[in-house]
Symmetry: C2
Subunit: 334 residues, 2 copies
Amino acid sequence: MPELRKDPIIGRWVIISTERAKRPTDLIPAKEETAGKGGFCPFCEGNEDKTPPEVLAYRKDGTKPNSPGWRLRVVPNKFPALQIEGELNRRGEGMFDRMNGIGAHEVIIETPKHCQNIASLSEKQFEDVLWACRDRILDLKKDKRFRYILLFKNQGVAAGASLEHTHSQLIALPVVPKRVLEEIEGSKRYYLYKERCVFCDIIHQELAAGVRIISENRSFLCLAPFTPRFPFETWILPKAHCARFEHSQKEDFELLSEILRDTLRRLDAVLRTPPYNYLLHNSVIHQDNDDYYHWHIEIIPKLTKVAGFEWGTGFYINPTPPEEAAQFMREAQY
Amino acid sequence: MPELRKDPIIGRWVIISTERAKRPTDLIPAKEETAGKGGFCPFCEGNEDKTPPEVLAYRKDGTKPNSPGWRLRVVPNKFPALQIEGELNRRGEGMFDRMNGIGAHEVIIETPKHCQNIASLSEKQFEDVLWACRDRILDLKKDKRFRYILLFKNQGVAAGASLEHTHSQLIALPVVPKRVLEEIEGSKRYYLYKERCVFCDIIHQELAAGVRIISENRSFLCLAPFTPRFPFETWILPKAHCARFEHSQKEDFELLSEILRDTLRRLDAVLRTPPYNYLLHNSVIHQDNDDYYHWHIEIIPKLTKVAGFEWGTGFYINPTPPEEAAQFMREAQY
């Protein structure tokens, strides 16, 4: 019997096909096209003049901006979805609303070497990426036009990567997106009812149940959520309540880079380097969400197609129960 | 300058990249894999015993159920997302909620011939499809366990079709999906404020503006919506206010099949038979949405990838302004 499960945060329903559950080997996509393969790579060391000037770089003492000698660079996206200069100019046109597409769109180039898979970076490099995200979030927060900052990664062409050299992206938006509002409001609703954080409660219940836990360390928990939209959807949450990623301490970043790297390597082992996206779910900039929101990372492998049913309902059909996905992930060897 | 546009119904924001607008030829996907190509087809005439027994068929007088002689058949999905027999048995597990996956999942086989593209069917065949949807909706509505019925089509492998023989699907659900609730509630909010239907107002404003209109006939309007999530997203709406598809009259179905077929043929001409989904947006079963909801069809071609940014925000980045898409669609020759 398939099972309908309701997400306790935003109320989304998911259909878990328990009977025709798919094993990882049934989900592995056919060999993937690679992005920009073999061609010139603007993200490699030595090609600094092929990107817009860097806004941040971790580099050797004595090396100049926009020249070799860096371990990590952040540059504006050359083809930004939103433009940094200008005013919002909100306006109506009859019943329709529009405004200028103002925002920041930056690229975090995670290594000077032409590496295609973030999972093969060292823990230290992961830490650099996390520090760079924090530094950029703190800087972008100062711009009063912005309401939300999204950090995300598209790993693999099927997940939307257009350049294979490993990189993450940051987008600062002038409005709070619907998806974010839903999660913030869902968390608030729960908090008003229970006077507890919904994510803290999930962590508590999941640790007691155990079946969906993948791994943990002193500060972080990695689990398969109760209502995954996609097979092998995986979340990483700080165990202690914390609303904002950028408030993390040095030790947090060490432990987060350890568990994030380990999780991506497990995913690669179980699903043979699948395409995936991961997303930082963080608080809204100028709002006090501190009591009820709990930042976390969601990793969604791209193994199934989103088709008419999903578009029409916002429901998802997931052929892999999270309890089985968690077991494969726990047992993964790399 | 990119532009942010807000959908007047549910408040979703879309980024329209007006500057690097893509022409249809930039969007055409590489040649597509075909589903189940060359193999045995359970939907072809003569193979009736390879599907579950039909629940509806339009067939020649004197022919028997589940034998040749039909022009259209509706059968339960052999691998249903939800199961028809049983009780819902809603239950909790700590803070989590679940229920049995009860529902109907049916397949409308639109022709007895092995045709891969619905657009090549005749207008009469389109009418049959619409009548079959109506007949099945009226029947499924009697089942008190169901709250919503979704009709959708996955055309092409990239849009989720797993069998190439042209077919649509109907899913009856025991809960009202989030996506549907958002649209119903958005329409209601507008109605409470304006005492008018938001879709009727859109039709009125779009007819006056003209730039996003693709085609129209006596009863229906085809347009590119002001805030399309995807390039060449196209909507077909009844011009007169009507909340329920199944209340359509005979003449409505004639005119709808004409404009739907014409629209799909235009899409095929402009984008060279792209993969797409179309979805019937209809009222909730046991609710009186009649004053403020307006049924319609949304067609979404699959030309761009949904990546981290879209998953993280619910925002969409669309490289084709709807005004340009509408012009290509208006001028399409087939």
